[in-house]
Structures are given as structure tokens and as C-alpha cells.
Amino acid sequence: MRLLYFAWVREKTGIDVEVVELPPGIATIAELIAWLRTRGPEFDAAFARPDVVRAAIDRTHVRHDAKLGGAAEIAFFPPVTGG
């Protein structure tokens, strides 16, 4: 699975894209975030306020209770500020 990080989420994790093998039992965005936070202090800091981090599954906005299903690409980012 490809994970992408944008804006300050990218700055805090220190990476923009990575390919990961998820451990079994991770079914939702919220569970994925909880696992990511265990990977190191930079991930813990990036997701310290998980409620302000937005997620997309295969380039569609989703809530944190969304099921990962067979997702190929998951992105994490702050609320958008374009326009």
C-alpha cells in the first residue's frame, strides 16, 4: 500500500511517499493512524491531533471510520486551504 503525506503532515513525518506492508488487523483509517503513530516520534507528532488530519483513499476524501478495503493509495493531509 502506498502512503502519501502532504503539507505539515509531510513535514512532520519527514517523507512524502512510502510503500508499507500493513500488519494484520488494520481495517480503518483510524486504526491505520494508530499504527502509524507507533512507528516513531516523527509519526507520533504528525498524528498527535488525529482529528485535524484529513484522509483520502484512492484519491477520494474519507472519514476516519472508513474501511481500507483493497485501497492502493492512502493520503494524509491537513484541512485544505486552496482557492
Binding site: L4, F6, A7, W8, A56, R59, T60, H61, V62, R63, A75, F77, P78, P79, V80, T81, G82, G83
Partner: protein
Amino acid sequence: MIRVQQEDFDIGAEIAKVKAGRTDIGAIVSFTGTVRDCGGAVTQMTLEHYPGMTETELEHIETEAKSRWPLQASLIVHRTGTLRPGDNIVLVITASEHRQAAFEAAKFLMDYLKTSAPFWKRESGPEGDRWVEASSRDESAHGRWEPPKNAAE
């Protein structure tokens, strides 16, 4: 039509392209968003986006506008990369037979773009750099519109 680009755009030229060869349009509305210097606090703005999802979201927003108003043409152009105060950021053009649809659709496009298109602004100035925070006014402007059918949120 939607475009995401680093280059500047020419508002007059874009309106001319929308009108070219057509005599059925009665109203054209354009909105341009530009970089503010916020009283000298901002000397540069960098726009990051999510290539692929950005285009998908903008097309989705445009399709939604066309399902709500009788638009004859529409255009969204959004810039990315490094911009300076006074530079253009975003252009929305809507064309319809009558002004009401064009005005409302242009506002709708901007309200939805502001809360769903994956762009992020980073401002630089004498005090350093900061990521622009999402505005609750943008959320409430979005919330004034009826949600689309099949809305995921």
C-alpha cells in the same frame, strides 16, 4: 474545463476562449483569487497540491455545478508553486444564458473548491514560514449549499 498549472493566466484571454464562436451565452461571471501581502507579513506563498486527486476533485466540483445550474461553459484554473503578493492564484469562469445561474455557480465552485480541492498554502514573510490554517468561514460557506446527492461526507 479545469486546469492546474504553475504559469499565470490571462483573465481576458480565458473569457475570450469561453465565448469564442458562441452566440448563445448571455452572462459570464469570473472570479479571480490573488495573493495578499497581509500588511507586509507575507512576501511569498507556496501552493502544494495532491496531483491526480486535485484534478479529480475539481472535475467533480464542476460536474456538480453543471448538474445544479444551466451552465453553457465553465472553467477552473488553479496555480501551484511559488507565488508573490499580487499574483493570481485561482480563476473561475461560468457562462449561462442569464446572470443568476452564472453568479450562483461561480460562488458554488469557489465555496466547494475551498473546502475540498487538495491544495495547501504556505506563507513566508519576515516572521518566518507558516501553513495557512483552514477557515471556519470557508466551512460555513460550503455548508450553505445543499449537499450533493450521494455525498460521502
